[in-house]
Amino acid sequence: MAPRRLHGVIMATTRFRTFRNLYKDSVTLMQLAQRLRERDGIAQASCLMATPANLAQLEQADLSIDVAPSPNDLLVVVRGEPADCEAALDAADALLQANDTTAHSGGAAFSLPLTSVALGVAQAPDADLALISVPGDYAGAEAMKALALGLHVMLFSDNVPIAEERAIKTVARDKGLLVMGPDCGTAIVNGVPLGFANVVRRGDIGLVAASGTGLQEVTCRIHHLGGGVSQALGTGGRDLKEEIGGITMLQGVAALAADAATRVIVLISKPPAPDIARRIEAAAAQAGKPVVVHFLGASAQALRAPLVAATSLRHAADLAVALARGDGARVTAPAPAAADLTQVDQRCAAMAPTQQAVRALFTGGTFCYEAQLAFNARGLPCKSNAPTTASQPFDGRYDGHVLLDLGDDDYTRGRPHPMIDPSVRDALVRAQGADAQVAIILFDVVLGYGSHADPAHSLAAALRDAQTQARAQGRTLLAIGHVCGTDGDPQDKAGQLRTLQEAGALIVGSNIEAALLAAHGAARRATPL
């Protein structure tokens, strides 16, 4: 462009100004750039959001700048004589700050003022817990800072080295503080849900769990039975390994033992290291209140009062509520209802001979684990990406019974967890319709804070599509699932159940019932009628 009013091209320079978190529409910005270009001494002008794509365009237009602004910054760049550039930038500033540059545009954005835990504490001096969710490389340092400020820590982040976890937890224990995590996604502290948690009644049952969805299942069941939760503490999945020594679970047991509002304690975990299990059981035995222990898949062993062993997540909740009511611990392990077994039998009887396999597509890791245990117990061979000791590792081939934890890293790399974005699971559900082996689709739906606003909607559509495709090929599928949630959750549990039932799914009250029904169906299909 030949600048008509440019005094001297040789003197031309590039100047810019950034406006943080200021939003204007494209027409406003183009009009502003045009007005700047019309000013004396200005050869070029551009007004745009400072995105990498736009910065590359500026570079091509010989308007490159030597700073790295954020995509939320509005950038005004001018090229011309130095004094005129400054005047043009001042003019742009005035025009942009005016509320009515155009009638339909103009907005200012909130810039989060809190950039550290310390600033947060300064603003909220009563705060006593820091929730940390940053990449694992930085999480340990942030946790240490929070502990130094006297805060308990919930560490949502994963990928924290185990040595760092031990160091953090040791420091916390020495300070009398609790570290929930790393990789702790669920907790309810003083009635405040943290991360993925459900809306449950407050009450007298305290929980400590190394399992997020396990904690959700048990708290929801407690709520469903009319009981309530005093505290639900997460430990992170590695807390009960030898390297960590169960530091958080031991602290949790001690805290709940001392908590007057807690009458019954529930402990949930995958099988701990044997020595750690002994230490935890010894600590629990000293709690002075009944303690329900459910270490999923651990070999059955007699526990002495006040410890009570549960056989499933649902059983743990049933026992806890009974104990809290003083009804004793004579609660039998849950089994599928006769009517549901009959329905499974009838649906399986109508299947094609090729249909032998169960495909379980879970969003909750503990649900996947619990379902595998049900299959293992019946001697049904199965594969999983998160296998129990009796299951085979999933090799990527959908052959036979396959039980998948879709919240595992394999399926969440670069995308949200399936509880938040169910599209990966929906696609896999649809794919089962084309597989002549598939007899039963087993699934979970997890409601509550943090989860998708309407997970049943897309899942029901996927189930219908799978059924339609199977029917077109002369087959019929059986979908069995359960919804982990409460009537207080944001997603409207009754509506979610209705949506899935209308899609033809058999919905039962707990994961273990769904898994037992699926295993029953698998056994039926393995023994043709």
Binding site: D25, P71, A109
Partner: protein, 306 residues
């Protein structure tokens, strides 16, 4: 969708937003909410305010308070009898906490209890393949006329990249499409860069034409992955729309425009829907329709591999 409704980080501040003294409270009825909006409980802060819209940051997602004229969206909250200028009632940084269907900010109370939920209906094309080509020509000419009035980089510097992206989708080259989509993210001057608007429209079109074709589904998934991975390259508001598009969620006006084109309705009805879609933003609506048109060209029935 990344809506995080729980009051997770600072319960003291979020559960008890400070009232601003000297300003009256105003009670507003919410007439409708998008299907991704938590109905009963959420907590957020005002991210940005405009005359006719106000964005609430809720975790990684934005909920948008809008007037009835704006049309529904998956994360929009439609206010009945809204103030003429929302900037007088919402200030950036204000906490907005919803419990049991009642949301409170320092100056406004929002009642969600009577809100109906807007949820887009799933539709498939009813246009006979023989009529696709004339309809494409009509839509292209219509949009070109519109772009002569208000142009963006999609009709200029980014046109080649947009065209190549359409071609990659037609060829079902997911990796190539992902690469080109990443290049378009954040390209354009304004609040929602034109490249992003194009991508949203493209996704909306592609979603209607998947036809259960595994190759198309894989291509679309690659595009979604690319968008999610690139959201840090664009302003927050636009990043939200890209995330929604990656998950297959779109606004009512765009869906109406798409569905009108795909249904066997008279062209004047299609024009009416496209005019309404074009009214979004300065060029955003037109840029999204460009993307939609790209999808319609890419996955024309004769190109279907199913």
């Amino acid at each position: 969708m990344l809506i995080q409704p729980a009051p997770i980080a600072a319960p003291h501040a979020l559960l008890h937003p400070r009232q601003q003294l000297g300003r009256p409270q105003r009670a507003l009825q919410v007439s409708a909410i998008g299907h991704l909006v938590p109905r009963r409980a959420f907590a957020g802060r005002v991210h940005s305010t405009f005359a006719q819209a106000c964005n609430i940051a809720c975790g990684d997602a934005l909920l948008t308070l809008v007037t009835p004229r704006a049309g529904h969206g998956p994360t929009s909250i439609e206010l009945h009898d809204a103030p003429a200028d929302l900037r007088g009632w919402f200030t950036t940084g204000d906490a907005l906490v919803c419990r049991h269907g009642i949301a409170r900010s320092p100056r406004v109370t929002l009642d969600f209890t009577q809100a109906r939920v807007w949820r887009p209906a799933a539709r498939r094309s009813t246009v006979p393949p023989s009529r696709w080509h004339p309809r494409l020509l009509s839509a292209t000419a219509w949009l070109a006329r519109r772009q002569r009035e208000r142009s963006s980089v999609i009709a200029g510097a980014a046109a080649d990249a947009a065209g190549e992206l359409t071609a990659a989708c037609r060829a079902l080259q997911g990796a190539r499409a992902a690469q080109l989509a990443t290049r378009l993210v954040g390209w354009g001057e304004g609040l929602t860069p034109a490249g992003d608007d194009f991508l949203v429209g493209l996704c909306a079109g592609l979603d209607a034409l998947l036809a259960d074709d595994p190759a198309r589904i894989a291509c679309r998934a690659a595009l979604s992955d690319a968008l999610v991975a690139a959201v840090s390259r664009t302003p927050t508001i636009s990043a939200h729309h890209l995330r929604l598009a990656a998950g297959g969620h779109f606004g009512e006006r765009l869906l109406d425009a798409r569905d009108a084109w795909l249904s066997d309705t008279p062209w004047r009805d299609v024009e009416a829907a496209w005019r309404a879609a074009c009214a979004i933003g300065a060029t955003s609506g037109a840029d999204a329709l460009s993307g939609l048109l790209g999808a319609l060209r890419a996955w024309h029935p004769v190109a279907c591999t199913a």
